[in-house]
Symmetry: C2
Subunit: 552 residues, 2 copies
């Protein structure tokens, strides 16, 4: 089926005829029906507008004549997966950043830096991260001169693996105006060359800002590149649609350029980065669905608290490992309600970040108050909803509140969460099943680039609560696992519903867009381990093949 | 043909079937051919995508069968008119502003204000202009209390006819924080109530800013309304496309909302308000043509000088009526070239405001320098090009420079220009024909809302150089008249060419969009006076009837 090829297949070679019906036949199709049960089918008949005309059973008559046929060769087909919470541009910019975390010597790092510069001509700055002079066996910080030896003509700035130091080349220091006369700022230190006042090229803690403050905002062309990169990554992982959580005006313009030029393949449900961005992007209400259901500004992302790891999550009682601290809300009650009203009065959807139990209680209370004024189908979203006081959980069942949760966070956070919360406050932590049982709808996502956007990892965690190493055996608080089918719905139909996209995409049913994946295995039968290893062979969006896996 | 109706015809009632060909037959069609000659035709066969399929002569066979036919009843059809320089949102906001210039008493003004408030519910502020206590026979300024008597609950701010005083109601003064303690700013005066320190409600000169600085920027909904108003005005006048000179990001988002929602009828060729807006709107290069050729960000509008009336135009020698003053450039030579390069390097089109002969010489010199680096089809535009040193005029013939000129400005400015320039500097003033004879292309416009956008007024001026009163008889400097046909081209095909729209719209030829007008008279035979009175009976854009004149 696949030809060996060193070059990535060009987009054109993926194209299916745009003006004819398409029949994808001889497949082992899997979908989740309205009752949450697996339904199997063998063919998809797709209209020339990219919508499903008919889901075909073995017995159904196939269309004949002018239809373009694709032989699935018996392979597994599932709905395109949807990530209900990620950061599209963050994924793209992250992928465009030089990663030095694998380098084992200064020389190897220098080579990687030079290679990266050669592979990325025209960059205004080269940005990277991950270096560690200890793993290099250097026994000292590297110098600007050593970085100049790799790249001298373009400014380079590289963050140490722990984020607490920055390595810059001479060009970067020149642009930042850093000289022997520059004093270390409070909370930071400029490293100096031995026996000299000359900055050595490494800036510790707050001193890093001397360099980073001069890194220009990305240009539109770089944003376009980042979006392309993010799309490439997501399509290859089987993500056909995603909620972009915190879309800036610049992000939005990037999405629109891609849409205007026919480069937007991924479906993006956007949530503006605050109410000002919301108004600047969409004006007096949510945008229409644009580009054949590929882009819509649904609403606004608001933050009520921070994260558990940094003890910024707002808790009802102090942190178990920091008794004087409860975290704190980023908005007072009036501010939160004002922002929510400003969005809701113009029919924008609310997606509110709440991690701690106090934050979740406050958002639930605010929704309870506002739901009276702003009725109808609102689909209030709470993003993360990580720690809920069990006495508050029932509230999720009211007003059709959506819990937008990220299964992999549970495995990444487990030990940290136990430390932060203590043993007697875990009942409402990452409580997927408990929340779902209230009648709330679970929308699953990854929070990429904070975690990998790989949806198969999230899916496997969702029904096991075990990490990639199978720990803890039997699952952490396994009563909050969801079924394998419910997890698939959380990563498809329910994630679409959470973004007002039901009826458009998310299900393999007649009338919805033909977004689907061809896989190398049956995800309903695979072990959790095998599911994590599932390979996406092809990704189709709107009846068009947008990704095909290269032969290994 | 027309039914009497008090209500404006709703847009829906104008609709022609979208899925069938349309034949507009039995018309007295007029178009300008490639040689600038009038060509007459009798029918237009329009494709279902709104493009002209065939321009039909009396002898040509008509399509039959499924085509939707419109009987033109022998009426005159001309190409849709294109304004090469106006301000779309300015026209709309101007039309939404209360106009008191016709009121003859305070009581009449109060009634007009109250009526306006009632007709415009939901306005955050009521803004108006044109009052004059002298024509009211009041003998004193009006007061805030007298304004409160008309509207008290919404802040009201009204500019005096000469722009040198502002009348505010109590609510506006409260919002501005103006009290008895507020001091008059330098260059301005707060009027006070007799025998009191209380502000009376009138603010003179710089004091007006105390109020105006509190008027909020328009909300998106108000912008949408302004665009709708501007479209209504322009379509009724026979303008089917326009270059928007100085599009802000907010303007652009308004245009896009209209496009996304199918409300954009007018074709808009946008020139961003500076290079930052250009990048924010379009990113790394001009946008594609959007919405079936209804919107494109072509390039950027820059300013090199001011206007002749306020002596801001930059002249080579001092003003005849102000011997110490030559006006001045708003950019130095390096700044101008930097801005031009920043746009040209990303293939944005340049449209540079230059009024005085020094400004024009400088833009011509800058183009001469940049044209070497930025080759190809650039269509450098000089906006206004009002006063050119005769020794510089030949430069217009190089590099395909476009002179974007506004015929009506010539009649409005005539006496003022004679005063500013003196008798011996008029040879290159409003020198349409002389510029055209160099090989430059003339693109005609109105600069609305500075002047009325009525293209028939501009057309009549272009071949007469007489004002609406026929003054001066025979035309001012008649050697710079252009032919009636060339004037029509300047308001259609050449205005399209100036916006890179040739091949898309601007001509009634097969393959271009079917943008045309049905008129009540033959503009090629009418006297200039009669041409000014021409009535647009119908306006069609892209094969769709978008305006129909109500029966008188």
């Amino acid at each position: 089926m696949f030809k060996k090829s060193l070059a990535a297949l060009a987009a054109l070679s993926l194209a299916t005829p745009a003006v004819a019906d398409v029949l994808v036949d001889n497949i082992a199709g899997i979908r989740i029906d309205e009752d949450g049960e697996v339904d199997r089918f063998t063919g998809l008949w797709i209209d020339d507008d990219g919508r499903i005309k008919q889901v075909l059973d073995r017995r159904d008559k196939r269309p004949d004549g002018t239809t373009y046929s694709v032989d699935g060769e018996g392979r597994v087909v599932i709905p395109g997966l949807i990530d209900a919470h990620l950061h599209v541009m963050g994924i793209g910019f992250g992928a465009l950043t030089l990663d030095l975390s694998g380098t084992r010597s200064l020389a190897e790092a220098q080579q990687a830096i030079a290679d990266f510069a050669a592979a990325n001509p025209g960059r205004q700055w080269i940005i990277g991260r991950g270096w560690n002079q200890e793993t290099w066996g250097l026994g000292r910080f590297p110098t600007a001169a050593e970085l100049d030896a790799a790249v001298a003509d373009v400014p380079v700035v590289l963050e140490r693996v722990d984020g607490h130091a920055t390595w810059a080349n001479t060009r970067a220091m020149e642009l930042a105006g850093v000289t022997a006369q520059t004093k270390s700022p409070s909370g930071g230190r400029i490293e100096r060359l031995a026996g000299s006042q000359m900055p050595s090229g490494v800036f510790v803690d707050a001193a890093s800002e001397l360099i980073y403050s001069r890194v220009p905002a990305p240009r539109p062309r770089e944003r376009d590149l980042a979006l392309q990169k993010a799309q490439d990554i997501l399509l290859a992982m089987g993500i056909t649609a995603a909620a972009d959580m915190g879309t800036s005006l610049e992000d939005w313009q990037t999405f629109r350029r891609a849409g205007d030029e026919g480069r937007l393949k991924l479906r993006i449900m956007s949530y503006a980065a605050g109410v000002d961005a919301m108004e600047a992007i969409a004006g007096p209400g949510p945008t229409p669905w644009l580009y054949d259901d590929r882009l819509r500004l649904n609403g606004v992302k608001l933050y009520l608290d921070g994260a558990l790891g940094s003890r910024g999550a707002w808790l009802k009682r102090p942190y178990a490992d920091d008794p004087g601290n409860t975290g704190l809300p980023l908005q007072n009650p009036a501010q939160l309600r004002n922002l929510m009203s400003r969005a809701a009065m113009d029919n924008f959807q609310l997606a509110i970040h709440a991690i701690g139990d106090a934050a979740n209680a406050e958002v639930l209370a605010a929704i309870d108050e506002l739901a009276e004024t702003y009725g109808g189908d609102r689909r209030w979203r709470i993003e993360h909803a990580q720690v809920i006081d069990p006495t508050d959980i029932a509230e999720f069942g009211k007003y059709g509140i959506i819990a937008s949760m990220q299964p992999v966070h549970q495995t990444s956070d487990r030990l940290m969460a136990e430390a932060r919360l203590g043993p007697d406050r875990l009942d409402g932590a990452y409580a997927w099943k408990t929340i779902a049982d209230t009648g709330s709808r679970l929308a699953f996502g990854s929070d990429a680039p904070v975690e990998s956007p790989d949806p198969f990892a999230g899916w496997a965690v969702a029904f096991t609560r075990e990490d990639a190493d199978g720990q803890p055996f039997g699952g952490w608080r396994p009563q909050d696992r969801v079924s394998r089918e419910a997890a698939l719905a959380g990563f498809s139909a329910d994630a679409a519903y959470a973004g007002f996209a039901d009826g458009r995409f998310g299900r393999l049913v007649a009338g919805e867009r033909a977004d689907f994946l061809i896989l190398d295995r049956d995800p309903m039968l695979a072990s959790a381990d095998d599911l994590r290893d599932a390979k996406v062979l092809e990704t189709w969006i709107g009846g068009e093949r947008v990704y095909r896996r290269r032969a290994d």
